[in-house]
């Protein structure tokens, strides 16, 4: 007696699919057939369902008093930094924007996407290099006007803790890679994620001449 060995895996899969709420119609019919035909399947199914119900009904503990405050107060004062060439891909979303704070090293910021329609035919020819660094204000901007991506990358904020803000449209996956150099210069690269080719490179700096 008992669940037939050859069908045991299937039987277990069906019972667990029922427990997890992912049983299809055909699977439901098959499970019902097995339940009717074999009391041991019914016993197994009832026991597993009871076990899982008991698991799901276990009370969730409240967090200990003071844990939240301990977590928050234990965090470093400095904003988290990115490490290495950690690119955040733009995927294929056409219109995007990101902002980041950094204190040094090589970084790529997190991205926030806004969705929009891109008409690539309105773009001009790609520019493989170019820099527009406006150091007269507490902001420096690089214009990007490529076939694949168009918009601007802006360096803003204080000179010792600059932020990178982008406003870009992209028709294919690209990454923005930034590197902070001595003297407060920030090198910015627009990289094609597919070919790894640098499409545009520029240098930005806040606060003093360039």
């Amino acid at each position: 007696m008992g669940v037939g060995m050859t069908g045991q895996d299937t039987t277990l899969e069906l019972i667990n699919a029922e427990i997890d709420g992912v049983l299809t119609g055909a699977q439901r019919a098959e499970l019902n057939r097995l339940l009717l035909a074999d009391p041991s399947v019914r016993a197994l199914r009832d026991g597993l369902m009871q076990t899982c119900r008991a698991l799901d009904e276990m009370p969730r503990a409240e967090i200990p008093a003071g844990l939240h405050e301990a977590i928050v107060s234990g965090l470093p004062v400095a904003a988290p930094k990115s490490h290495g060439l950690n690119r955040a891909a733009f995927t294929s979303r056409p219109l995007l924007r990101y902002a980041a704070a950094f204190g040094g090293g090589l970084l790529v910021s997190a991205l926030a996407f806004q969705f929009g329609k891109l008409d690539s035919t309105e773009f001009g020819a790609g520019q493989l290099a170019g820099t527009i660094a406006d150091a007269t204000h507490a902001e420096a901007r690089m214009i990007v006007n490529l076939d694949q991506v168009r918009g601007s990358i802006t360096l803003t904020g204080a000179a010792d803790s600059p932020q990178v803000v982008t406003s870009l449209k992209s028709s294919q996956p690209v990454s923005i890679v930034t590197r902070l150099h001595e003297g407060g210069w920030v090198e910015v690269q627009v990289v094609d994620d597919t070919t790894e080719k640098v499409l545009q490179r520029g240098n930005l700096r806040i606060g003093s001449g360039h």
């Binding site: 076990t51 008991a54 200990p64 844990l67 939240h68 301990a70 965090l75 904003a79």
Partner: protein, 181 residues
Amino acid sequence: MNDESDSALVRRTCSGEPRAFEALVRRHEKTVFNAALRMLHDREEARDVSQTVFLKVYEHLGEYDPSHKFYSWIYRIALNESIKSLQRRKPTAALDFETPDGTPGPEGVFDQRQLSDGMAAAIMSLRTEYRAVIVLRHFMDCSYEDMAAILELPEKTVKSRLFSARQLLKTAMETRGWASE
């Protein structure tokens, strides 16, 4: 705002807004703590693990890949930290775990508290890899797909492990006197 996505909060944190990370903590702390508690069965250890998890998340936030679910990432860290905490225990510690009152009440039935305590003991009797899938599925509400991503295992393997874990739990409960009908 409550509706703000995890990714948006991560982005704001990286932009220098610590309040945004506090919102992330508030959103996930209870799940992380309960996961650690079920993995460790020790409130103090679970508390320490929870603190460590959020500190690690913060320190490595710049490495977070926004193409993946944030909670998958944080849950993976929570499981790993719980397992590390288990490994730091003395080898005999796990064997010292006692099953709470395993006898039914006067009416011959277990009350909810007994059942819950018995289940907690049964969970602790599982090997770590089985306990992890039970915690992910039943205490963190993860789908098969989420579990596969968190454990970095094929979905088929995760399902097989979960099904086995449930059977082991059922058997463990039966041996503790909680017979299924």
